[in-house]
Symmetry: D2
Subunit: 358 residues, 4 copies
């Protein structure tokens, strides 16, 4: 109820603060007898971790995942899978200078007002380091989904005002921005260099595509597949919006333009983004989320201290000039968690009327 | 788990199909001893019901709410409040012509594939008539929130390509589009007339403002206030996206532009939309949602029948040319449900460190 | 969260007060395409209703169930099934004499202290009339379980100090006490007549047997099958305990006596009551619950009024001298709800390793 | 949903297997700003751990708790509190001899049938070692309850056929049986020595008293305080029943005997066990649970192996001859978890009409 769990039948609970001893996750609902690929989990962790390229923060955290329970002789047992990452690079001292200040764009002020106490070390629980547990759990979900024929790919579609001109899924892991267009990626890297020199940061848009989802996933009314994805994505730090299919552009369309015509071979278009009435329609599921520019900037900013007095602040330290590259695996992870959960919910219906994905 | 409940401590469960006997809702978690204003509930129902103006469907449904439990001598008792609306205008026969067709843009196909059975009468459970229960429950939540000093106002910000130029909350209920700008509203009405004559429909954008929320609402990590609002809003039929504060425009901003400076008198801007780290910051909460153009249009469209054969279809009958005016109270209702729930969650923390809303 | 819902995947939410307009239930999670037998639901209602025999209260309530949603052309659709029973015999005036008194053994005092308000008409929500919704929902669960080969039978094992000497399932519905032994039943009826003349009441024990449950139902750790059954049964008004298999007698046994030996043909005994480690073992599941003597008695009793002053009270009106006969279908209903829920939970595991019931 | 979480607003999720790397728990819902007494947590762990006296198993496990998150500068922060105990005494090799056998009275058979895979090392997740996380979390709940004036005391009331003649709370921690009567305790110890020499085991009854609970805790209908306690207690390994107040003896009582008379100074008796209509009535809450004799005995027993063939088995190793002494802190822990959760639920009602405990 305090909001640190997510999902119904494939349910995760995360713990840990940025500069505490460890961060991690318990997954309750892992099917038994599954050959979990531990290396694949670590690969996802590596995509999320800092220090992986020159466009992200230079902090060095190996983020080595250890599985403490739920496995026996290399297989899952159906009991809770606990994964932990010890914080090796904790430097609480770094944050003494901000302990009495509310950093603009951060949750410092809201946490203190909500709880009456704040772990100011790197944002504590509000740090994006909290997403370690999400990515670890998402990596498990991805493996379960692969078995179902489902593939999730997210990428930077736009950053710093530069838009990708094409969507080439093959280049995403070949450029540090995780963009879907190499040319745009180069421009984005240049823009990152520039903004870094200005001690500022940039925002962007991440697009996510889910392939291979059969017709029938999603619970109508409140737990629509898009509603649950929206919650999942908006729970990621720094996201400020989400849209499905044509999204906000639908506001200016007519019904005859927006309705996707159906044929015996499938839909002729995908304005709906693969979901109708909250239920997957067999089309590719497509959504976009906007990532705000990193709040931690060394730019001088106006704020107040914990005594309520006006002060100026420069948030120095090792921060990402653009959050998109490292947010991509988090978007994929949250998406995977929602999908695996909805597959299990569909299975509990006790019948299988899935149509093949179109 | 089948997704017909929403909320944790202020929790609703809805029931009913478009052309069944009744639709309604149970609220579990209504505080005891509250003087519920039944007329105010009916007022919200009237804002949602068809036939209220010339820009919406001409169907006549009085949508009279009856309270069947949870009250005693005019006060709530803390037990479940059940509200029911009998369907007086059910015309199942109207739908014989579509029972073998999948209407484009509708959930006909996905429901049938998911469940293996479909109540085709007016969309059954997938009909927007399902929102009757939401609005009734939201009307209760609104009254509870008013007591807390919270006010929620939604309005049509854009429709059919026409944008409001100003936000005037006083004119919303004075124009049939529920737009926040009377001049724009007139243009929108003209556009509705035009699109109706073209047997087509238009989409739009609804903006919602929440005033008077103190600092501290929202559970960090998964149940962030914006994440829960996103789920709530995306669960409304026809919504395709949501954005908070500057929303998707944040993609092209820098950190120094987007961070809201703080002063002893509050924030100097509201790019965040009133939420930081998933927790309300005392600013006005602002979000927008996109409403797709009505799927039911008499335009000839390509689709398939339940045997999988290609056919064309014109969805005739009494439909809204633009969903925005009737969706406005639904957006407000879902917003109210989220807020009342989060107030109760905050109270269960067992302390009151709310700062006054800024 | 306010406690009016039960179950996870087969989930019910009930509403209604004893002398309000109606009582009822929403079931969320009914599988689609099921031919629901409405007469069978009514039969269960009739087993629960007052006035059915001379050993129970003489109140006349037809308790006619109406299904308001979730069905189409005689089949369930997978959407919420709402069932309502209008209160035809409400006589609120009957209770004016108790509105200022706390009836001993009742929840009058605790409700008022908890909520600060009390619907005193017949106990309001605390009345056993609340179980109408449970029995209606349980009747649906029973039909779903029958399809799975599961049968649930409860009966009065002991009442007013008289114990059944044998367990004959065929006689249960042939005697007004719903006892499993006709001879004992006759003695019980005599005892009921006697106690009625003394304006007093008697308690008893109900035993429940569940046949046909395969191995594998129940989630270990917190949601053990016996733990969930215990919660279900102890949530029934007037129950004060539950025991499985040999139950409390196990306290005086040794491990070599209590452990059930296994053979290739099944277990040689059933001290465990059909559950090991919280999971069904294929044996018959057996438990007993104790029903306290009816609290509403015309005996003069010492109590206080709402002003805290000492008074004496005689609770007159039409009350059951022994709750067992009418509690039997409620015990079966709650048992059915737990089992159907756990079947669905097991199905969400995504594999079928059920062993046949032994 | 897979059943490894417990509670609503004070919610725990446990993980770990008997011979895995670690066991532990996440608590979500710890109030912020609380000075947690770590030594008091360890004290509860020590009451539960093996090797503490001659009447329990001789295994040596220090069971040292480490807190990995949720604290800052000695105070809780309102974020998830993760506590872990590394398994220092894991001897997986000890269990090679049982890996192909189903131990009578254990969950070996049911786990394998449910999951298709079984961690046979010491029972894996089905081991009572799983209760480490419960006791750690319960120790936190106890501290929070102490602040509310609530005290929970459990003790062995009966074991091996020997009944305590008096309830002296002061002697419980002064005898290895945790009995409430020193004379009975001595007889019990003698009985334990005897049964151990017979390579057998004994059962018993634990009674629990909760003092200082105000009127008003418990959610009526399904989440009654007694229903939630019943689930909590029946989820503890080896429990086979629970009864409140006079419990099963109520079956033979009349209403005039069982109803507790009320006076301005409180109730004159406590047959109800402190709960009326599922809500605490201000009286002491009293319940008893039966603990079956330890299933692991070196007695020769009839069983089958995983190939379904008949075999005999002697379960050797270091086992408790009577589970009661070590189950006492587990009963207290589960009780504390239920109470703290219900306090928070009551607080979310948004008003305080608690009457002082009587």
């Amino acid at each position: 109820m305090a909001g640190n769990s997510f999902g119904q039948l494939f349910r995760i609970t995360t713990f840990g603060e940025s500069h505490g001893l460890a961060v991690g996750v318990i997954i309750d609902g892992v099917p038994p007898g599954f050959d979990l690929d531990l290396a694949a989990i670590q690969t996802e962790m590596d995509r999320r971790r800092p220090g992986q390229s020159k466009v992200v923060t230079m902090r060095k955290e190996p983020d080595k995942v250890e599985i403490m329970s739920g496995m026996f002789e290399g297989k899952t047992t159906g009991t809770p899978l606990m994964m932990i990452v010890h914080n090796s690079n904790a430097r609480p001292g770094d944050y003494d200078n901000i302990k009495d200040f509310f950093r603009p764009g951060h949750a410092d002020y809201t946490y203190l007002k909500k709880y009456g106490i704040r772990d100011y070390r790197g944002g504590g629980r509000a740090s994006a380091r909290e997403t370690v547990g999400r990515v670890a759990a998402g990596a498990v979900a991805k493996q379960l989904l692969a078995r179902r024929g489902v593939r999730i790919v997210a990428y930077t579609l736009r950053a710093g005002g530069i838009a990708c001109k094409q969507v080439d899924l093959d280049v995403i892991e070949k450029n540090p921005m995780r963009a879907c267009d190499l040319e745009a990626a180069e421009l984005m890297v240049t823009r990152v260099d520039e903004i870094r020199s200005q001690v500022d940061s940039i925002g962007g848009i991440i697009e996510c595509r889910i392939m291979g989802v059969p017709v029938g996933l999603g619970e109508p009314v409140f737990d629509k597949l898009d509603a649950d994805l929206a919650k999942a994505i908006l729970s990621i730090p720094a996201t400020k919006g989400i849209e499905f299919g044509t999204g906000f552009a639908a506001a200016d369309m007519t019904g005859s333009q927006h309705n996707d015509p159906m044929t015996p071979d499938g839909f002729l278009s995908n304005n709906a983004g693969g979901i109708l009435g909250g239920i997957s329609n067999g089309n590719e599921i497509v959504f976009r989320t906007v990532i705000k520019p990193t709040s931690s900037i060394a730019h001088e900013q106006q704020t107040i201290n914990t005594s309520g007095e006006p002060v100026t602040i420069r948030v120095t330290g090792r921060h990402d000039p653009c959050l998109c590259p490292r947010a991509v695996p988090v978007v994929e992870a949250m998406t995977a968690l929602v999908l695996e959960d909805h597959f299990k919910r569909q299975e509990s219906l006790g019948h299988s009327c899935y149509a093949p994905a179109g």
